[in-house]
Amino acid sequence: MKTNRRIVNLFAILLPLVIFGISIFIGRYPKPLFMPLDTLLNDQLGQQLVLNLRLPRLITAALLGSSLAAAGGVMQMLFRNPLVEPGFLGVTQGAGFGAALSILFLSISPLVIEISAAAFAVLGLLLSYFIARRIRFGGWVLRLVLSGIAVSALFSAGLGILKYLADPTSQLPEIVFWLLGGLWAVTWNDLLFILPAVVIGLVIIFLMRWRLNLLALNDETAFSLGVAVGRERVLLLGASVLVTAAVVSVAGIVGWIGLIIPHIARRIAGANAAAYIPISMSLGAAFAMICDDIARVLTTGEIPLGILTSLLGAGIFLVMMTARSMRISR
């Protein structure tokens, strides 16, 4: 059992690094699929391309996958429901609305879109949270789920209005592409913009991962174990929303990672959050990088990342749900 765990941990550290190393060479320059090592060493354009486009994009993909997978794992435990995904508290719809609002009325500069999307993502959470506090019936989970659904629907309706108002030749395609999610426009500046929030959030989640088990218990039991339930819950919820809002603001809406990766991680490492949260982070990074590699090379244009993660994620989900024997036991 011990050696098994050690092998799993080693695999979790190595997998994203190996995929990162390979992904540097994947793209459509100088020819589709692989860039020869020679090009990277001697071709100046190739070097520029790797340094200025592929590297920030790959690192962002890894952070995106890690963040969504970690936040998904946290939310599933806090809400004691394995079908919750990180954006459901109005965060995803809020970000979409914020991005569209910026495209229509503020600016189409990426930074302004990102700030607007991030701001509305956080606003979505705050609205959900404060409305939940005013609901006068049900437990904590039920109230937040209800208000999250309502807030998401409000933002989604708002987004519909903005799409209706948008200029169909210029603004509407811009909104649609943003909503489909993708990393083609990511630069070092974008990466630096989200890096502090993502690092802080992921470190909090990683360090408090064992406590998550306690927060998934009944309130009475958690309390009797000395847990400051309210405070610790808000801290971990805040950290998850922080990382989700940050990555969604640069990548648009990338679905399914936050739902499916924690499931796979639990299958591999078990239900103990201390064991599966790091695996979830590692698999999330690997999955997002692979999806982004496919997005880059499959066609001459680019397939939006959100479509690929949904396609692959939902496919894996279906296989997992129907083949229960696919268990890698501890």
Partner: protein, 262 residues
């Protein structure tokens, strides 16, 4: 007589939005190393009383002294090292192994960023042994029977190494054999010096193990005292609001309802 480890005086509590008190003017003392049953019909306020004793709910008025100090003067962390709770049941949404789940009982001794170490896991193994479920160590929780899960919850509370163990209806959905296993474990814990308080609506289970009884009805304590003085037909009839008769067969006390349905 030694000083009370837990002393409750004139405790009153009302849930917000409710017009009547769930617990009204309740007073009693608990001696260290004894087993006390809080006995009463459904809705008598037994669970609320346990939550008050744990500090989960704060009383409207009255006082609770733990080791002669007010309960509120303890930090939540210190309290969790003194008092352990075995809830009536628990929904576990994820597939923990039994040992992982029981190790959660080490939380009071771990810092906010600390993971349980080898020593903690050894203590958890000891708790499994005390609850006589060592053979379940690596079993996933969803594969357990109701009786086994109840023992897992007990083991988790033992892993806390509390001085006082509170159990909410520990035998109510157990079959006779599992009930006896649970009561035997409580008996062993008492022998090792743990103070035990449990709520139950089953007078026979209470009579099998309790040293002292607290009779509750409609949020009020009707009577307290040792088993011999309290476990009478008259007092139990009053507690349950229906005529019952206590029949003694050697060491056993059998409670028979005198109301016929036909």
């Amino acid at each position: 007589m030694s000083a009370a480890i837990l002393s409750v005086k004139d405790l009153t509590f009302t849930y917000s939005g409710s017009s009547s008190a769930a617990v009204k003017g309740v007073s009693f003392n608990i001696e260290p190393g004894t087993v006390t049953a809080i006995l009463g019909p459904n809705g008598a306020g037994k669970t609320t009383l346990l939550h008050l004793l744990l500090g989960i709910q704060l009383p409207l008025s009255g006082s609770i002294l733990l080791d002669e100090q007010p309960l509120r003067s303890y930090s939540r962390r210190n309290l969790s090292r003194l008092l352990g709770l075995v809830p009536q049941s628990e929904y576990v949404p994820f597939e923990y192994s039994v040992i992982e789940y029981v190790t959660l009982g080490r939380a009071p001794y771990l810092g906010p960023l600390e993971l349980p170490g080898e020593a903690d896991i050894e203590i958890a193994r000891g708790a499994l042994e005390s609850a006589s479920i060592s053979h379940l160590e690596n079993r996933p929780i969803p594969a357990l029977s109701g009786g086994e899960l109840q023992l897992v919850l007990l083991a988790r509370a033992l892993c806390q190494q509390p001085r006082i163990l509170l159990l909410d209806e520990p035998t109510s959905h157990l079959d006779l054999s599992n009930r006896n296993i649970t009561l035997r474990i409580l008996d062993q814990l008492r022998a090792s010096g743990t103070t035990i308080i449990f709520s139950t609506h089953d007078p026979e289970a209470a009579a099998l193990i309790a040293d002292d009884l607290v009779l509750m009805r409609s949020g009020q304590v009707l009577d307290t005292g040792d088993l011999d003085s309290i476990f009478t037909s008259e007092k139990l009839s009053r507690t349950y609001g229906t005529p019952v008769e206590v029949i003694r067969v050697e060491d056993l006390r059998i409670v028979k309802s005198m109301e016929t349905l036909r």
